[in-house]
C-alpha cells in the first residue's frame, strides 16, 4: 500500500482526503483508528447549518420553501432521524451479518459522505444570489452530482469497514432501510401510547382534584 501521509494527518483533514480517495481513506482509517466523534458531530452540525443557510439566504425566486416557515425543532429532528437512525439501523443489521465495522466507523462513513453535499450547498446558495431565473438548473445539477458522489462514498465506505462484497453491501443497505421504517413505526407507536398514558394521568389528576 502506498504511503499517503495519512497516519500523520490531522483528524480534521481526513474527511477531505476520504472524499477524494474513499477506498484508501477508509482502509487507513480502520488501520490508524482516526475516527473522531468530535469530527462527526461537527460535520453533522455543519450539514444542518448549511441546510438552514440554504433556506434562509436563498432569494425568493430559487427558494422552494417560501411558503413554509423555518423550524429549528424540525431541523434537529431530521438530523436525529436521518443520520443517527440510519447509523444505528445499519449497525444493528451489520453486526448480524458479520460486519466488522463499529458504530463510530459507520458514523464516520456517513458523515464523510455528507462533506461534498455541504460544500455544494454552501457554494450554490452563495451563487444563487448572483444567478437568476433559468440558471438555477446549473446549480441543481451541481448539487445532484455531489449527492451522487456522496452516495458513492457511503457505499464504498460501508463495503470497506464491514469488509463486505458488493452484493452483500447492497443487501445491507436494503436491510438498513427496512430497519429504518421499523424504527419509525415503533417510535410513532410509542409516541401515541405515551400520549394516551399522559392524558390518562391528566384525567385522573383532574378527577381527584375537582
Amino acid at each position: 500500500m502506498k504511503r499517503t501521509g495519512f497516519d500523520t494527518m490531522s483528524v480534521f483533514a481526513y474527511p477531505f482526503y476520504i472524499c477524494r480517495h474513499p477506498r484508501d481513506g477508509f482502509l487507513e482509517l480502520k488501520a490508524n483508528k482516526k475516527g473522531s466523534p468530535l469530527v462527526v458531530t461537527i460535520i453533522v452540525a455543519l450539514w444542518r447549518f448549511v441546510d438552514l443557510f440554504y433556506r434562509v439566504v436563498t432569494e425568493f425566486d430559487m427558494n422552494p420553501f417560501t411558503d413554509a416557515p423555518v423550524s429549528l425543532l424540525r431541523t434537529a429532528l431530521i438530523t436525529v432521524i436521518i443520520f443517527f437512525m440510519v447509523a444505528i439501523s445499519n449497525w444493528c443489521f451489520c453486526t448480524l451479518l458479520d460486519g466488522k465495522g463499529k458504530i463510530l466507523d459507520i458514523c464516520v462513513v456517513l458523515s464523510c459522505a455528507l462533506v461534498p453535499y455541504i460544500f455544494a450547498r454552501f457554494i450554490t446558495t452563495l451563487l444563487s444570489l448572483v444567478m437568476a431565473g433559468d440558471e438555477q438548473v446549473f446549480l441543481n445539477y451541481f448539487v445532484i452530482i455531489t449527492e451522487v458522489w456522496g452516495a458513492a462514498i457511503a457505499f464504498s465506505g460501508l463495503e470497506e469497514i464491514h469488509e463486505y462484497s458488493v452484493p452483500k453491501t447492497i443487501l445491507a443497505i436494503f436491510l438498513t432501510l427496512v430497519g429504518l421504517t421499523i424504527m419509525l413505526f415503533i417510535a410513532l407507536m410509542l409516541l401515541s401510547l405515551f400520549q394516551q398514558l399522559y392524558f390518562f394521568i391528566v384525567t385522573v389528576f383532574y378527577q381527584i382534584r375537582y
Binding site: E59, D61, D67, A132, G133, Q136
Partner: protein, 490 residues
Amino acid sequence: MKKAIVAILVMVLMLSSFGTVAYARQPDKAYTYDHTGTEAVPSSNIYQVKLIVDESVMGTTKMSAPTDLFIDKQDRIFVLDGGNCRVLVLDNTYKCIKVLEEFTYKEEKLTLAEGAQGLFFRDSSQMLYIADTENNRVLVTDLEGNVSKVYEKPVDELLDPNDEYKPKKIIVDNMGIMYVTSGSINTGALLIDSANNFLGFYGINKIKASAEVLAEYLWRSIMTDAMKAQSELSFQPVEFYNIFWSEDRFVYAVSPINDKVASSVVKLNALGNDVSPRTIEFSEDYLKSFHYSAAMRLQDITVDDEGAITLLEMQTGRLFQYDSECNLLAVFGGTGYQKGSFRTPVSIESDSDKNIYVLDADKNTITVMEQTFYGQMIRTANRLYNDGLYLESIEPWQEVLRMNANYTQAYVGMGKAYMSMGEYDKAMEYFELGQSKSDFGEAKAARREQIIRNNFAVIAIVIIVLLLGTLFFDQIKSLYWRISWRLRKK
C-alpha cells in the same frame, strides 16, 4: 331627585345605544383566491346593488319564473317571463315599454308554451329570437309580435329523429345563423341557417383526458362488438348550459363543472375550437374554503365590451368576474333574501355601462349592480396591464392596493411598472409580494446586468489581475522569496 337622575341617565344610555349607524353592507363579502389558487382571501366588493327592478319599477304585473334576459346595443332589456308566457321589453330606465304576449304568424295566433327558455335580439335585423322550448320550436318575431319565421326541428341525417328537440338557449351570429342548444343533444350546439337547414354541430365539449378515460378506451379497443353494444360509454360529453355571443365574434359557453369536463368555460372561435387565454378552473377546494357542500352549476355567462367575463353560479348565487385574460377579479353575491343576494338566479347580462343584471326566478326581480370605485380601478389597472402599459397602470394598482392589500396581481403589476422604470430592487420587492417567481428572476437578471454595466471597469480590472496572477503565479512566488531573502540578509 336621585330617581329622576337615574332615570335620565338610563334614558341617555338607551338612546345612545339606539343611535348607532346602520351600514348598508352587502350580505356576502367578496373574495378572491391567493396565488396557490386554493385559499380564499377577502376582497373589496367590485359591484354594489344599484336597483332592484320588480313589477312596481317596470309598471307591469308580477313576473312568474322568468327564464332569460337579453340586453341589446341600445341598452333595452328583454325579459323572457317563462311562467307568464310573455316577453317584456324595458327601456334603459327600467320602465316596461312593450309586452309581447300574443304573436301572429300568417294570420294565425301563436302563444308561447310555459317555460320557454331562451331569448336573443338581433340588432341588425331588429328581430327577436325566442326558443319556445316546450313547443319544440324557435320563433322569430319583430317587436310588434308579428312572427316572420317559425323554425321546427331541422331534418338531417346527423340528427336522430327519436331525439326530442328542446331548444333552450339561442344565439344568432352576424350571418343570421342560429346556434341552438337543445336539452337532449350533447354533441354541441346546433348550427341552423335561416332556411332551417342543419349545418352541423358547433363546439363539442371535450372530455378531460384522465386515467379512467384512457383505461376505458383501452378496454373498448379489445372488446368484441357484442360486448361494446352491451357496455355503455361512461364518459360522454355534456351539453352546454348556456351560450353567449360577444361583440368580438367569439362564442362563450358554460357547461357543468365536474372532473369529466376538460373546461367548464370555453371561448370558441368560428371553427368551434376553444381559444380562451387560460383555463378557468373550479377545484373542490374552492367550495371547501367557503363551506359550500352543493355541487356548482354554472348557469350563465356574459362578456362586456371590455372582454370581462362574468359567470353566474346558481347553487350558491355567486358571480365570478374575470378580466379578458381570465384572471379572477372577485367573487361576489350569495344566496339569501337581502339585496345583492339571490334565491334562484337564472340569467345574467351586462350593459354598455358595465352594469350587471341578474334575473332571479324565485324573487321575480332583476337586480341591477353597478361597479364600485374599487371595481373600476381593478378593471382599469388590469386592462392597462394586459395592454402592456405598465407605467400607466401604476396609479390604479396603488388605488387597488389601498383598498385591498390581498390582491396579488396588483403587486405583480406594480413590480412590472417599477421594472420598466429600471428600479429593479423595488420591482423584486413587489414580485415577492405578488408571489411571482419567474418575474422575480427576470428582475434579478436585469439588476445584475445593470450592476455589471455600471461597474464594468472595476470588474474587468479585478478579472484581469486574477488571470495574470494565476498565469504568473510561480514567477510571483519566486520573486517574493527573492525579495524577502534579500531583506533578511540585510
